[in-house]
């Protein structure tokens, strides 16, 4: 595991900032969903592209998954992926207040909506902490019901390494859970490091 791009202090600060950002996100997501949201402590790794799929597999487990990706741009540029276990997808309709069993298009729209909410809240929270301006592109469905390992085609990734930040969402009263993964290419890691330095200096 290489986190050498960050010093110990920077890494701790990133961990803390992410944590605070996610905490705020949790609160606003809870307000939207009307359920108390539990968030794991963010896992932060700097990984070579080839190590990203195995890392995902380790975190998510062997089940089949459906995933949504959304690009973000502005002061920080990267991609976020929300990974749902197939069984959990079906709970979304209920969660979002749909009464009927949704058809496939509705189910996919729900997935995109919930992913947009989670990504917007989490990355927005982090951006706010480091005073970064960020915009989002429309989310899109990456894959439905595939093996976790085949989700990302990292062979086309240019960056020599990527920052991998993973947060695990679960709801207190339901079995629903999903993983949010933020991926930043190497040049953006440096941007983030500078932002962290500015944040540390302002303390």
């Amino acid at each position: 595991m290489t986190t050498a791009l960050f010093s110990e202090d920077q890494r701790d600060a990133l961990q803390e900032l992410t944590n605070i950002g996610m905490g705020q996100a949790g609160a606003s997501v809870a307000a939207v969903l009307g359920e108390f949201v539990q968030l794991s402590v963010p896992r932060i790794l700097v990984l070579k592209p080839s190590l990203i799929p195995p890392a995902l597999e380790r975190i998510v487990g062997p089940e089949k998954v459906t995933a949504v990706r959304q690009g973000f741009h502005g002061d920080l540029r990267g991609e976020a992926v929300v990974v749902y276990g197939v069984a959990h997808c079906r709970e979304l309709a209920d969660l979002m207040g749909y009464d009927e069993v949704p058809d496939e298009a509705t189910e996919h729209e729900l997935l995109l909506d919930v992913s947009n909410v989670l990504i917007g809240a989490c990355l927005g929270g982090l951006a706010e902490q480091i005073s970064a301006e960020m915009g989002f592109s429309a989310p899109s469905l990456m894959a439905t019901e595939v093996e976790v390992g085949s989700l990302l085609d990292v062979s086309r990734m240019d960056s020599p390494c990527a920052l991998f930040v993973e947060v695990n969402f679960s709801l207190e009263k339901r079995s629903f859970a999903c993983h949010l993964i933020m991926l930043l290419p190497e040049d953006q890691i440096l941007v983030l490091r500078d932002a962290i330095d500015r944040f540390l200096a302002s303390l």
Binding site: S28, V29, A31, V32, M96, G97, A105, T106, H108, E109, L112, D113, N116, V117, G120, A121, G124, G135, F136, A138, P139, S140
Partner: protein, 434 residues
């Protein structure tokens, strides 16, 4: 000429841009309604501004839209819709009144929070982008992909069928060359048999003549001088002349019988293979069955007694060598199904316009899971090296080619019956006058 202020420029662009732009406040009162929205909805800005969105457009998906806007307000963040999941938000006419292709304009929408100085979301702005052309292209592409997939599946099936046909061809070529060999051997055997047969005929008449001569000698026996007679008597006794005379005739008769049988076998072999024959011709199935049973007699004689229950059969138009192959296959299979000793019943008859041939054994029977697959190429239950797995599938295709059908009935522990129906006429062999 006065310069436009920054605000005026923004307002102008928002109004005239070829994208729908509108905004609502927290109570869904419309606060912005650009020209795109006015043109496509046929509701002018003056008509819509200040009114509740759902009052002007009662057809909108109200609860969904309310929830979407609430999320934008609560999370102070963008939200999106895509035509792939929700074809449109507003039902607008599309830009293809002539070329058509879809029922209404396909739209991608973005919901953006409009914040005040304090960062509170006071309004939500929605952009509506016409993506009809993309959507149609996408759908056409998807349709072509599906078509390609379908064609690929078809090709895979055809390739499979081709491989199967090739295998059957190989197998029938193999059988044909065996048949050719057998016919060649039969022909070669015919020559020596011919002269042995004719020699035996001559031998028989010589024996008869010798007997007449011998009888004459025997009649003169008493007149032979005493001194010679005792020596001759001793000789006659030594060779047991009475028995020898009797047996000599028997031996010749038996040899000629044996030779007849050899001739019959050779004829059967020739009939069975029918060298070079692949055209349909009129044939007597009973004759076919008899020759086949003779050819395989050796293989089945220790296992099964063959019972023939032949009915009245007209001649049918068929490729006899191929049908022989089928009959042989069924009879050999029947014999192999019998573990110790059993009966193979071959019956024939007519049913309506068709004739049938049934081969029934008293063997082990075929389990249902095997029964489903017995006509599949390469499916075999025989030990490696014993069967090709092609016998029944070849039989099946031969019968099919004859316009007939083959069915199997089997009961575990009781036996199996293969029944073949054949039409009187060979389907592919239509003559000119028909």
């Amino acid at each position: 000429m006065t310069e436009l202020t920054h605000g005026e420029l923004g307002g102008f662009i928002a109004d005239r841009v070829e994208i729908g732009v509108f905004a609502v406040d927290v109570e869904f009162k419309v606060t912005l309604w650009n020209r795109f929205m006015a043109t496509h909805s046929r509701h002018s800005a003056a008509d819509v501004l200040g009114r509740n969105l759902f009052e002007v457009f009662p057809e909108l998906p109200r609860s969904w839209l309310e929830r979407k806007v609430r999320h934008v307000q609560a999370l102070r963040n963008y939200a999106f819709t895509s035509w792939t999941q929700r074809p449109y938000l507003f039902r607008f006419d599309h830009n293809r009144p002539i070329t058509g292709g879809v029922d209404a304009m396909r739209q991608n929408c973005t919901f953006l929070p409009v914040k005040n100085e304090a960062g509170e979301v006071v309004q939500v702005c929605v952009t509506v982008q016409d993506v009809t052309d993309n959507a149609i292209a996408h759908e056409e592409l998807a349709a072509s992909m599906a078509e390609i997939e379908r064609e690929k599946a078809e090709q895979r099936k055809l390739i499979g069928e081709l491989a199967q046909a090739q295998n059957q061809l190989l197998q029938s070529e193999k059988l044909a060359s065996i048949g050719q060999l057998a016919a060649g051997v039969a022909h070669e055997i015919n020559n020596p048999i011919g002269f042995v047969n004719s020699n035996l005929g001559t031998l028989a008449s010589y024996v008869d003549e010798l007997m007449v001569v011998l009888d004459a000698y025997t009649g003169a026996h008493d007149q032979i001088p005493e001194s010679l007679r005792s020596a001759i008597d001793a000789q006659i006794k030594g060779v047991d002349l009475d028995y020898l005379r009797e047996d000599l005739v028997n031996l010749v008769t038996e040899s000629r019988d044996g030779l007849d049988r050899v001739k019959k076998i050779v004829q059967d072999l020739k009939d069975f293979s029918r060298m070079g024959e692949s055209e349909a011709a009129w044939a007597d199935l009973h004759h076919c069955l008899d020759t086949t049973l003779n050819v395989v007699a050796n293989e089945i004689k220790y296992k099964a007694e063959v019972v023939k229950q032949y009915g009245e059969l007209p001649e049918i138009e068929c490729v006899a060598s191929q049908l022989n192959q089928v009959f042989m296959n069924l009879v050999v299979n029947a014999a192999q199904a019998i573990a110790e000793q059993g009966t193979i019943t071959v019956s024939t008859g007519t049913e309506g316009e068709q004739v049938f041939v049934s081969v029934r054994d008293t063997g082990a029977g075929i389990p249902p899971e095997v029964l489903k697959r017995i006509f599949d190429p390469f499916y075999t239950t025989k030990p490696v090296g014993t069967g090709t797995g092609l016998g029944l599938s070849v039989s099946y295709s031969i019968i099919e080619r004859h316009g007939g059908r083959i069915v199997v009935n089997s009961k575990l522990g009781e036996g199996t019956e293969f029944k073949i129906w054949l039409p009187l006429h060979y389907p592919a062999a239509k003559t000119d006058d028909s």
